[in-house]
């Protein structure tokens, strides 16, 4: 379970780097090969490695919601690193998605 928790944190940083790298695309599509995107992809791969090893010892009903914790971290990082606003819409949408993922996990 701890492994999946770690996976969610690593994955959320992957998203931050993906966002950083995406900003470079304003200089043209082929700017898609940049360091930030590469780091983002590596972090995503790392996170899925943690997830796969975590999934071997745990139940999906617990693990799925843990993975979606990554959405919560990402909300916080977006605020800190990109000055994106917290809005009621984001909280409500995210809350619904988290509840939904819990239900899907329970049924798996």
């Amino acid at each position: 379970m701890l492994l999946v928790f770690v996976a969610s944190i690593i994955g959320s940083f992957g998203a931050v780097f993906l966002k950083l790298g995406a900003a470079k695309l304003h200089g043209g599509f082929w700017k898609i090969f940049n360091v930030q995107l590469a780091i983002g992809v590596i972090l995503f791969l790392g996170s899925s490695a943690f997830f796969v090893s975590g999934i071997r010892h745990g139940q999906l009903s617990v693990l799925y919601p843990m993975v979606s914790l990554g959405y919560v971290w990402t909300l916080v990082w977006s605020r800190i690193f990109f000055k994106e606003a917290f809005t009621r819409q984001k909280f409500l949408g995210l809350a619904l998605i988290l509840i939904g993922v819990c239900f899907v996990g329970l049924g798996s």
Binding site: K19, H26, T74, G93, G100
Partner: protein, 132 residues
């Protein structure tokens, strides 16, 4: 900014840009789900070793689709907010659950169905935008 004055409040450029980004993430989740299904069926008859990996067509197609879905996500993030777009990826659960049901004949149950409906609602909230 003067051009924004003539557009109606329900169809502001902000709204359209956000919906375009969410549309891209939407496609990203479909590709991602297809990738997961392909990788699952590839893993089911996986032969260990490098040749086993390279000649495993479903697995390889899965990786390619994953790559494509990542490109779409990056294109969406170019103009969209990370905090808004990232949770939309949860739609992948919806497609994977549906496809697993169709292809692998996984069991559907009330809990999964309720979960799917709530996820879709949540994505709907993010896509619609708050009238703040």
């Amino acid at each position: 900014m003067s051009s924004t004055a003539i557009t109606s409040p329900v169809d502001q450029p902000d709204d359209r840009a956000r919906q375009r980004s969410i549309g891209l993430v939407f496609c990203c989740t479909i590709l991602g789900a297809a990738a997961q299904i392909l990788m699952k069926s590839g893993a089911n008859h996986f032969v260990p070793g490098l040749m086993g990996l390279i000649t495993n067509v479903p697995l390889m197609c899965g990786y390619v689709l994953y790559g494509m879905s990542t490109v779409l996500l990056v294109l969406a993030l170019k103009d969209g907010e990370l905090s808004l777009l990232y949770p939309v990826i949860a739609l992948t659960y919806v497609w994977v659950t549906g496809l697993s049901f169709l292809i692998f004949h996984d069991t559907a149950n009330v809990s999964k169905l309720v979960g799917i409906v709530i996820i879709v609602l949540g994505v709907g909230v993010l896509g619609k935008g708050g009238r703040s």
